[in-house]
Subunit: 418 residues, 2 copies
């Protein structure tokens, strides 16, 4: 495979300008973004991305899950495409880079190839995967999951947001149901590379330009519903209370203890907690919350799930509370493709960027795509490890290093034609 | 003072029909009511009550807090009125009797007096106090508090609901700002009686018809704001987390321990908990919740508040969380007027109802009015002690017993004119 010369780099100013332009769509309240999946803002962001791709002479295909595939043709009609991409949707209080860097970094790779007149044997396809965040419609990485055959499309269409709107109805409303069958291309992929911010503090702390992602942590989401008895906070004697909020408090502590018992790699917390009826003078009759456990070791994930169910049940039994546990999301730990990982490491070496191996703590579309195609990820640092937060920040130098590595890995894998 | 004959009783069927008619306004989702203060439903309920009172030949006055005073004249123009009443507003998932029984029980007293042609020296005034529940606009008992001089009216007008609407604007929107200065009549009250459901399990467990309320528990509401750091649930190592949700969990356990340390009379819990940004894969950056402590002993309340602040601060310091404590509501324990309490006890004796002394666990408008006029309360049992719940239930016999006692206590205090 022919690699680009070590002096060839992407245009960091152009990349940065595009990131800032995209961030104007669906602005947050504190400098970040609220461009949740399948909102009007998400649709507007997709259209801007489409326009930029078409300006770069790419052609668009959209599948029935709304996944966008923007293709730059190769020279060999029989060569399978090399994919790059990530997601344009954000958390409700999200940042400007989580996902977006991977999509617009992919676009910048194409723009740079155009500038330099680089032709490749394999086509290069920049992808925007629908609903990576999963905040509006759980689970996360929904559309790449359907693409990879992990989820059924009908089930995905039925996912509901907090207002009861379904994924399928919202996708139709916005006009992003494509005519390509989802997953139709999954057996015809040469490779896939996803550039993403780390969303953790390790690269910055170790002063590394680039993370070479070797594995992805597995994830388990369990929705816990505790039912007690709504009653007056003043006139219900303490021994007669069935306080669902107190049951939740004890289980949150249990979750922390379980995760710490598998230090240092396992983590656990609950980010989403709803209390009913949520009134100052009513003892909570019901609490619904979701426990998020992660580990790179599948046996640890199973153990954490089992302890949550057994010990959580015991806590609730003792408090005369009813409890239900429902697994609402999850994926096994991932080992990325050795060849693709090596291409990323080689690119970083060739370009002279400092790098280290890293395990992805978050789930990514690449984790699902790795099931159907050789896949790897590249990470760049983010300030203070902060993500899923409007204050999420990266430097232009970090964006440049990550995208340079993406450029070299992609072009080498797609094979330059002299 | 002349008391009514021991055979004179209220009309329980008529009372029950009125309770059921009122419950049709602002129905809940599970058989109870959602007629929160200063909603369209609350206004509709007020108008029905006004109509019923005017049909019973009473005249209406409304003060600048929207408190409704429905007067049946006495024979002596110089005699100060005897007040009865409670509130028509409900919790978001409230029952049909909490507050409503006290208002419509008062109306039934007047209807019975009309039926029997009873004349009294003192006027009798049936009152509907605005915003007793405090769920929409904290604190509870807002308008009786302004009436009694506990709160300032301008401050009350500025109270905001979850959508940012103010109490004052909503009162104006619905046309319930009266022209009588709030509190103008507070020095001209002969007595006040409030009938209310117990909202606790004691009377039913002891098989008593009526509770003679001697004291009211004091209350302290502290709003706790814990600030940590929003970050990704997957990629933030456990030791670097500043999880506001976990801090909340530990303080909820502390609240339980503090209340139990003052058994059997003290109670403590948090009914209202908001988590931000409340997303499954974001560690909570902020949690706001309100701790509700109650005790009939002011020293115990002070001790519970002090422990919450000191030990809650310690918990948050250890977890590198910031915490703010704001006292958002409270009242001291109440000792009701001995003469009025005696009138209630005498009425129960005369009527042959079983009774017991009881401490009110909940706050009531009577607790504030007791500051400016001789006041007492009557309680009737409720099924399973359940209140602030759509399944709240009482029997018609219980409603009858409580209202019979109210009738006798009021008419004796207002002095029958032969």
């Amino acid at each position: 495979m022919a690699a680009p010369g070590e002096n060839l780099r992407i245009n960091a100013d152009r990349l940065w300008d595009s990131l800032m332009e995209m961030a104007k769509i669906g602005p947050g309240v504190a400098g970040g973004n609220n461009r949740q999946t399948l909102t009007d803002a998400d649709s507007e962001g997709r259209k801007l991305f489409q326009k930029w791709c078409e300006d770069a002479a790419m052609t668009m295909a959209v599948d029935t899950m709304g996944n966008m595939f923007m293709t730059r043709e190769g020279t060999d009609p029989n060569a399978l495409p090399v994919y790059v991409g990530s997601h344009l949707d954000t958390q409700p209080t999200g940042g400007k880079y989580d996902g977006v860097l991977g999509v617009l970094g992919g676009l910048e790779v194409i723009r740079t190839m155009n500038d330099l007149g680089i032709k490749t044997k394999h086509p290069v396809v920049v992808t925007n995967w629908t609903n990576e965040e999963g905040t509006r419609f759980a689970p996360a990485m929904l559309a790449s999951g359907v693409f990879a055959g992990v989820h059924d499309q009908d089930w995905a269409y039925d996912r509901k947001d907090a207002e009861g709107k379904t994924f399928g109805d919202e996708l139709k409303r916005l006009g992003w149901v494509g005519d390509e069958e989802v997953g139709a291309r999954k057996d015809k992929m040469h490779a896939m590379f996803e550039l993403h911010i780390e969303q953790g503090p390790i690269l910055e702390a170790e002063n590394k330009d680039v993370g070479v992602v070797t594995h992805g942590q597995g994830l388990s989401w369990t929705q816990v519903t505790i039912t007690g008895k709504e009653s007056h906070t003043g006139s219900t004697p303490m021994p007669l209370r069935r306080n669902a909020g107190l049951g939740m408090a004890r289980i949150l502590q249990l979750v922390d203890e379980i995760a710490l018992s598998h230090a240092p790699h396992a983590v656990g917390a609950a980010g989403h907690i709803d209390v009913y009826p949520n009134s100052r003078n009513v003892i909570p009759g019901k609490v619904i919350f979701t426990v998020d456990f992660r580990s790179p070791d599948i046996a640890v994930i199973k153990n954490m799930e089992e302890r949550l169910l057994a010990e959580g049940q015991k806590i609730c039994d003792e408090m005369k509370l009813e409890v239900e546990f429902e697994k609402v999301g999850g994926f096994d730990p991932v080992e990325f493709d050795k060849g693709c990982v090596e291409a990323v490491r080689n690119a970083a070496e060739r370009l002279g960027y400092s790098h280290t191996n890293i395990i992805s703590g978050a789930g990514h579309d690449a984790c699902w795509v790795n099931k159907v195609a050789p896949t790897a990820m590249i990470m760049c640092p983010c300030v203070d490890g902060l993500s899923h937060n409007e204050a999420e920040e990266i430097s232009k130098d970090w964006a440049k290093a990550g995208t340079d590595v993406l450029f070299h890995a992609v072009v080498e894998t797609a094979e330059i034609v002299e």
